[in-house]
């Protein structure tokens, strides 16, 4: 698996400190919640709601870090710190990249959870 998607050391440490079974359930929770965060980011962009945009990016960053989804976390962090862009097209492009990375991370996490 591509190490740049999930930092396996972080994931392994999470399993070690809280238990593999617990982490498997936590991954499921994350996958359920994350799609809502992505929807929220799209909606906040469309409605020009800076606060909601920042908060959704912040949550996604925080959870990505928990599982070692380093690249996803980095992309979410950029959006959090930058906030809404004056040019909506740039945010739309960034969101598309974020969603692609999320799909990769989700696949990798599902694999790890069963591994």
């Amino acid at each position: 698996m591509d190490e740049s998607v999930i930092d396996k050391a972080v994931y392994a440490e999470l399993e070690e400190t809280t238990g593999a079974e617990f982490v498997a359930d936590l991954v499921d929770t994350f996958l359920e919640e994350a799609s809502g965060m992505l929807t929220e980011l799209r909606r906040a962009r469309a409605e020009n709601h800076a606060d909601h945009f920042r908060r959704a990016a912040h949550s996604l960053k925080s959870n990505s870090n928990t599982f070692g989804a380093v690249k996803l976390a980095a992309l979410a962090r950029e959006l959090e710190l930058k906030g809404l862009d004056a040019d909506p097209a740039r945010d739309t492009a960034a969101l598309a990249a974020l969603e692609i990375e999320y799909a990769r991370a989700a696949t990798a996490l599902k694999d790890l959870r069963h591994g």
Binding site: T18, T29, E33, S59, S62, N65, T66
Partner: protein
């Protein structure tokens, strides 16, 4: 090192964070309740007791900063230790949390080892604080403890209108010599229990105990409506309780005791005296000296309760008093009119 189990409240708007923090806390042997925003958390804190709060900052409805502000303003909750767990970036956010009274700040994702250490340290500090509060309660009166908690500790006094009471056991030295020390301590404990009960049930505060004597205040540190009547009512109850106590002692073939009480009313200076390290809540002034003299004079006058003119004037018709004329007291330039309060006790 295992900490005794504590009850924590975890506040985070993010479900993954809530579950993870609660897992960490439970693995450390504590129990955790969960809230998804600051408003829900405050409701829970005001409803049930918690030992520690793990607080997220970035939350909808009410964020962590607002929670810290509300906790600080609430006398019931301001001592609750709070550890902020957040992935907010920027030193200014950390500084703001600490400034608002947070005990500690941990970055998310939270390292479980660090979390355990911080929870342990915070709980230990809370235990020490609780212990201190308990000590203050035991060695000061609840009124003084409350006054200390609300206004903080400052040396120096303020002028208040109050009644001061002195009371002691007559011929106590002879009594002490006639019985084993254990019996004397037991006698004193019973005596103090009865006296405290009578005094506090009338709104008074015992602020000094010296051997067999005590000093009580009515009207300080908290104001009391009609302090003179309250003090005299307490004194009458004290005499009555001692009489009941004596019935038991006679039945047990033990010597009976008698007490003398002096009460004076007027302006006193009340406050904390001593040093920054060791201080006591007390009252000083002419009124205090006069009350002490009146108590000593009960032996000479042969009556249980002696009061000054200001106390007598404040009493209603319900209390019988007898004017004993003017008595020249040491330290007083003019003689003082004194009154005996009719009580069951015979001198």
């Amino acid at each position: 090192m295992a900490d005794p189990a504590a009850r924590l409240l975890i506040v985070d708007d993010n479900k993954v964070n809530r579950l993870l923090l609660s897992r960490n806390v439970q693995m450390q042997g504590h129990s955790a309740a969960l809230a998804e925003n600051g408003r829900v958390a405050l409701d829970m804190l005001r409803r049930e007791p918690f030992d520690l709060l793990l607080l997220d900052i970035e939350m909808p409805e009410m964020d962590g900063f607002a929670v810290l502000e509300q906790l600080k303003a609430d006398p019931q909750l301001r001592d609750l230790p709070v550890i902020v767990t957040s992935s907010l970036e920027g030193l200014d956010n950390i500084v703001r949390c600490i400034g608002l009274g947070a005990e500690d700040y941990l970055h998310k994702p939270v390292n479980p080892v660090l979390l355990k250490a911080r929870i342990g340290a915070s709980l230990e500090k809370k235990r020490l604080r609780d212990q201190q509060k308990e000590l203050v309660r035991r060695f000061a009166t609840s009124e003084v403890a409350q006054d200390l908690q609300q206004s903080g500790f400052t040396l120096g006094g303020k002028r208040v209108h109050a009644s001061v009471m002195f009371s002691d056991i007559r011929s106590f030295t002879a009594l002490v010599e006639s019985q084993p020390p254990e019996e004397t301590i037991e006698l004193l404990n019973t005596y103090y229990t009865l006296m405290f009960d009578a005094i506090s049930s009338h709104g008074g505060v015992v602020n000094q105990m010296i051997g067999d004597g005590l000093m009580a205040l009515f009207g300080a540190p908290l104001p009391l409506h009609d302090c003179a009547s309250s003090a005299v009512a307490a004194a009458l109850e004290m005499i009555e309780l001692i009489e009941q106590f004596n019935l038991e002692r006679s039945a047990a073939q033990k010597p009976t005791i008698r007490i003398g009480i002096g009460i004076a009313t007027g302006e006193v200076v009340a406050g904390y005296t001593g040093t920054q390290q060791r201080a006591t809540y007390t009252c000083i002034g002419d009124t205090v000296n006069l009350a002490a003299r009146l108590e000593a004079h009960t032996k000479v006058a042969g009556c249980g309760i002696l009061i000054d003119e200001d106390t007598q004037r404040a009493l209603g018709d319900g209390v019988g008093t007898e004017a004993l004329g003017a008595v020249p007291f040491k330290g007083k330039s003019t003689a003082v009119e004194i009154f005996a309060v009719a009580a069951g006790q015979t001198a």
